[in-house]
């Protein structure tokens, strides 16, 4: 009987070892991967920013091709919460709201009515911030670093997105005059766009 009972326990033991081992292995793996992954970047490396500066715009200055390095990075400025939240802070620090309000527009165009004068692509938005646009949009080339421009562009794009990304920043504590960034505002506030429209200026997909 003692032998039998020990055998049964042995079975359970091996199961327990199996589970313990699996849990320990998973957790250790997680710890190692966690240690090796890149943490949040507070300052982009100079070669990277130089590469990000290489935009190719279409002749009409609407849309274009982002630099290859942007895809190699995994489009961080549109998809990571940290960069989006940095963009949100840059939006207020660099006085964007003076003309664009809380994204609702003012002297400058609105970002959340579903229409983009120069199209909704990242390249166009980056170009608008970096080089300025006619009718009053100043160039920020000498005021912001390249990665700051990309962060800000990512945030502005997220403001007018039709479907909110899970990485979008959340509401402010203070009351705002528009829905929170994670609430798909463009779909709610869709407006008839200005005429005449280039097809690329159309609603954000």
């Amino acid at each position: 009987m003692r032998v039998q009972s020990a055998g049964a326990m042995g079975n359970k033991m091996s199961a327990r070892i199996w589970f313990g081992g699996a849990a320990a292995g998973l957790a250790a793996l997680a710890a190692v991967v966690g240690w090796m992954r890149e943490p949040r970047q507070y300052r982009a490396s100079p070669p990277l920013t130089a590469a990000l500066d290489q935009l190719r715009l279409m002749p009409n200055a609407i849309s274009g091709t982002p630099p290859e390095v942007y895809f190699a990075l995994g489009k961080p400025y549109e998809t990571t919460a940290f960069d989006l939240s940095q963009g949100k802070r840059l939006y207020s620090w660099f006085g964007c709201s003076a003309c664009h309000g809380e994204g609702t527009g003012g002297k400058g165009p609105s970002f959340i009515d579903g229409w983009w004068l120069y199209g909704p692509s990242m390249v166009s938005i980056v170009a608008s911030i970096r080089d300025g646009r006619p009718h009053g949009m100043p160039a920020f080339r000498n005021r912001m670093t390249t990665d700051e421009i990309w962060q800000l562009a990512g945030y502005i794009k997220s403001l007018g997105a039709y479907t909110a990304s899970v990485t979008a920043t959340a509401r402010n504590d203070e009351k705002t005059g528009r829905p929170a960034e994670n609430r798909a505002p463009a779909a709610l506030l869709f407006n008839q766009g200005p005429e005449p429209l280039h097809p690329d200026q159309g609603p954000t997909p």
């Binding site: 949040r40 507070y42 300052r43 802070r89 840059l90 207020s92 620090w93 660099f94 006085g95 000498n142 005021r143 912001m144 670093t145 700051e148 504590d173």
Partner: protein
């Protein structure tokens, strides 16, 4: 007595941000309470450990469980419980009296509004008879032996104001206003630091408190209330122009110029302060230049964005900053 002498030793080498090396009305009272409770607790602990050692060391043949022993033990435990209650009650009363002492202020002569934000301190001095109101950052000046009322506010997350050598800490909570009154008893420079975890640069959110004699304090107030000096050197004048044309002016105020931003510290007299970056670096021309050139490496994640500058512009701006005494 051992712990008391240990405390004296510990006080000696503990710097200007220490709850033991105190020069403030309330911190002194708190230090006395700390010493009192520590001594009482040390004695109690020694008694417990002493009894434990005796219980282990005493010779005995067999475990005792006769009714006579049990009765004696029950009696001793009752006595011990009574002693515990008395000690605890005594300490509670001592604590109440200290609290009452701490709040025995007789009207503050000076009120400063302290606004904490990620990750620096703004001190707003009110207008007095002679001087207009002014703002400064990360450096609080107070006159010695005067009650100073600090109105504490937080602009973003919870922070906590703590100047261990002068007073205990008090939290700064968004949506609330807390008030603490401090009185320094000796001129000197004391360090304070945020004591409630407030995010990435919680570690680098310090400030200095400069306690001065009345006259020196008044001179300081007069100097701070004045608008910024016009730069004398050509390099500094060029720096001023760069400052105004770059985004610097969108966040910083320099009184007497067109720079009126409010999200960063007021720089009107930045060079008169002992540190920059909330206690991060000593103020020198070199450290100013280093900070402007690359704030995110010196204090990763802080709210000063990197602004692209040529090396000439950087030199000019730091020359300008250095003249803002």
């Amino acid at each position: 007595m051992f712990s008391a002498s240990l405390l004296v030793f510990l006080t000696g080498c503990s710097g200007n941000q220490s709850a033991l090396n105190t020069h403030g009305h309330s911190a002194d009272a708190l230090r006395d309470l700390i010493i009192l409770i520590t001594v009482v607790c040390t004695v109690v602990w020694l008694m417990v450990v002493g009894f434990l050692l005796w219980a282990l060391a005493r010779r005995r043949e067999v475990p005792r469980r006769d009714s006579d022993t049990e009765r004696k033990m029950a009696l001793s435990i009752r006595l011990a419980i009574a002693a515990t209650i008395l000690t605890v009650a005594g300490l509670t009363i001592a604590s109440f009296y200290t609290t009452r002492d701490l709040n025995s202020s007789n009207g503050a002569s000076l009120t400063v509004r302290v606004k904490a934000q990620q990750w620096w301190w703004q001190f707003a001095y009110q207008a007095s008879d002679q001087e207009p109101p002014f703002l400064t950052a990360n450096e609080l000046h107070i006159p010695v032996n005067k009650d100073v009322r600090l109105e504490l506010e937080a602009l973003d997350v919870i922070h906590s104001l703590w100047i261990p050598s002068l007073a205990g800490k008090l939290d700064m909570i968004p949506g609330r206003k807390n008030i603490i009154t401090i009185r320094a008893t000796r001129p000197g420079i004391y360090r304070g630091q945020c004591a409630e975890f407030c995010g990435l640069q919680h570690s680098h959110m310090a400030f200095v408190v400069v306690v001065e004699e009345g006259a020196a304090y008044q001179r300081w107030v007069a100097a701070q209330a004045a608008p910024a000096v016009e730069p004398a050197m050509a390099e500094a004048s060029a720096g001023k122009a760069v400052f105004m044309s770059k985004p610097c002016a969108a966040c910083h105020t320099i009184r007497g110029t067109s720079a009126t931003g409010t999200s960063g510290p007021d720089l009107t007299h930045v060079a008169s302060r002992r540190t920059i970056g909330a206690g991060l670096l000593e103020t020198t021309r070199g450290s100013l230049a280093a900070w402007i050139a690359d704030p995110q490496t010196l204090k990763p994640g802080n709210n000063m964005p990197l602004v692209p500058l040529t090396s000439d512009e950087l030199r000019q701006i730091s020359a300008y900053m250095e003249e803002l005494k």
